[in-house]
Symmetry: C2
Subunit: 439 residues, 2 copies
């Protein structure tokens, strides 16, 4: 299933929010991503908002005004849900509700509609909360380039395990430590592998702290326990995408991860962007999902006709780093790698279908991580572990500083945008997080 293009995608649309008409904005009128916000430092209630240009359209204020009288019933009911302090109920309402509200909001902020600046809050004055109550968080491992590069470091004899090309590998992550952009966390401490020849593990702050560049996938409508979601219907269950930094302590991970997977190496913090870009907004930026003819083709529960036409998303991903010294000197974060979600070995629909094929129930607001998105080229690696060859070659920053792994005070910023010639840029805002010194 692919969402048909409609008037909300029209590249000619402009908004009475003039900053949305800037071609450099992440949030043109064709985007309309959802989040949860309030004025920074206030004790206002959290409520739903939509990013438009450099503003937030306050959905609670809109809902509280009489202005939604012009909306159709579906859109008005959806607005009431989207105005709440989490988006879970709106997510649960399903694609017809999401689409109706998107259309109504698109018409509401168009250049030819009456301006309502009283419903806007400047993004510079906003603070964000997690957009949904995340019941369960599952992290996948969908980049074969990442899996191969990391596998080579952890298991030189067998970098890519025999199941990789058949199974969209995933595992459960920690929901409680997911924070929104701006999250700062202490460097984790824990056990690491004994020195060569030794038997006693080391204990202390992680020395190999890393980021992971991921796409987050918010589930909209779930499924009943025991009822798998067919892959051809899976996209309809996806509310939208965000950015996700799955911070990782590589030295903790190497010692703890066998046989049951990463645990303390990951669960101290994960950072998402405040805005969820809906799958409907991304419809014009879908791309062919490709599988090399020499590779196994997906089993039937992971295959469907539209997969090879529009199964992927063409989303440019970027990692930027700002050290404490750069911040002190007023230097902007520097790009350290770029990749594209299009190169994922498994698609979003395949992740959803696989997750539920055993009957596992997904719930509105559940978050799936794509796994680190590394591209085919070495410089497109989505983690320092890969960029530095396991910490062997440091990377140079514009101010002359070097990094193998993250230092205290480092801020990592993830950004993303869907770009297509003739179409506006659909941006994701950013997911920024900062490493604090260990306790």
């Amino acid at each position: 299933m692919t969402i048909a293009l409609n008037e909300t995608h029209d590249p000619a649309l402009a908004s009475w929010v003039s900053s949305a008409n800037d071609t450099a904005s992440d949030f043109p009128i064709q985007n309309l991503p959802f989040g949860v916000f309030r004025r920074a430092g206030s004790d206002e209630p959290l409520r739903g908002g939509v990013a438009i240009g450099d503003q937030v359209l306050d959905l609670a204020a809109l809902h509280g005004s009489a202005l939604d009288a012009q909306f159709d019933d579906t859109a008005r009911a959806a607005l009431a849900l989207a105005a709440r302090d989490t988006l879970n109920d709106f997510m649960a309402a399903g694609p017809a509700a999401w689409s109706a509200l998107r259309l109504a909001l698109s018409r509401f902020v168009r250049a030819d509609a009456p301006a309502h600046p009283e419903l806007l809050v400047p993004q510079t004055q906003a603070e964000y909360a997690l957009p949904a109550r995340i019941g369960d968080y599952t992290d996948f491992y969908t980049s074969i380039h990442h899996a191969t590069a990391v596998g080579r470091l952890f298991r030189p004899d067998e970098p890519l395990l025999p199941n990789y090309k058949w199974v969209p590998i995933g595992y459960h992550g920690r929901a409680s430590s997911i924070g929104v952009s701006g999250q700062a966390f202490r460097r984790p401490q824990g056990q690491t592998r004994p020195a060569t020849g030794g038997t006693v593990p080391h204990f202390g702050p992680s020395k190999r702290l890393d980021y992971e560049l991921e796409v987050g996938i918010f589930i909209g409508t779930g499924n009943a326990d025991g009822e798998p979601i067919p892959v051809a219907e899976a996209d309809e269950h996806v509310f939208g995408l965000c950015l996700l930094n799955d911070w990782s302590a590589r030295d903790l991970q190497a010692w703890e991860y066998q046989p049951l997977g990463p645990f303390l190496a990951k669960n101290f913090a994960s950072t998402i962007s405040p805005w969820i870009v809906t799958t409907e907004a991304l419809a014009p930026y879908r791309a062919a999902w490709r599988r090399d003819a020499a590779d196994p083709q997906p089993l039937s529960y992971l295959d469907y006709p539209a997969l090879r036409e529009t199964g992927a998303f063409d989303i440019e991903l970027e990692v930027l780093l700002q050290t404490a010294a750069m911040r002190a000197a007023g230097q902007a974060p520097a790009t350290i790698s770029r990749s594209n979600f299009r190169d994922s070995y498994w698609s979003v629909a395949q992740m959803v279908a696989h997750h539920t094929v055993n009957g596992c129930g997904l719930r509105p607001g559940d978050l799936l991580g794509s796994g680190t998105q590394s591209g085919p080229e070495p410089e497109a690696a989505g983690s320092l572990l890969e960029l530095t060859g396991g910490g062997k070659q440091s990377i140079a920053l514009p101010n002359g500083e070097q990094r193998t792994f993250l230092e205290d005070g480092d801020t990592v910023v993830l950004r993303a945008r869907a770009v297509r010639a003739g179409l506006p840029r659909i941006g994701f805002g950013e997911a920024a997080g900062t490493v604090l010194a260990a306790r």
Copy 2:
């Protein structure tokens, strides 16, 4: 920290709920476990209850009566929280609140107090919900006997990995599929390993469906992100224990689990008992935690003086199986194995301290699983995988049926009790679950 014994533990106490005075009852007045219930088949609101004999003391009814006027302020405030439709707020209130309410309830149901049968609901007429909203579920792997036996099947060359004796191995599980006793679930389907010599995995219903005998650990008060819980204080953060069946599809697990751990092999269903036995009720049944002198002793963040005196819990665990044929013939479930939580390689406090040592925040109502509790003897194995040597030797049931793994219609029942000479039996009720045919 060990909870001091107090008047609620007095073995001489009896109750006006006469069934509680039966020495065979799981729920004497010294137990007083908490759960959430309503009358079966009704649309009554869910509310907190305490098991006493064969009855449930209705905490919402007690709270709604004037009878709690005799409680002290702490107990009365705690009752208001414990009467809600989940126990999370009561759990968050902390040990002083838990203890005050336990004392007040103990006095309220004593034989010399006025009887209030109008506040009771017979357990035969009750249905249960999950006692808490489980934000995150983490499963540990604390039985070295289980880890060794399973490791031998999955990795004959290296059954016990080098980290096992240093790290309380754990991983994240799925919260959404945790159900309360009585849960029935479809046999999961999924990919399994290609046949020897083949390359294409098989897809279909699991043929090696298993149970796992575990103790569930409900977190009471949590910790702030970034602030580890010291091991000596960890017991104070534990609200209580329950039974947990971590159903496992061994054939799915064998194919999917590398490198990131079990996923679809586990997340289709997990079943807990409705009653949470508080750590205070279990105080008289604590036991020495032992570590063989030839083994590494715990790192300092996992060690504290009281560990070797009272770090463990002496809880007898039991698995029973009732096949569809047994049920049709009116035959009771048959015991197929027994073990004791005392034999766990890692203690509850060590699990909590390890989980948070990297700064991971625990929340009230989070559930930890102990991992399968297998004893040192082969017949004390906590799973069919172990009891049958990986499915090679079937076990015989009293009616002549054989099992290697679970068949459709099988009901697995977990039971447990803390027993000590001269003290009443503190039972856990049961966690029963039934396998339905694949979809």
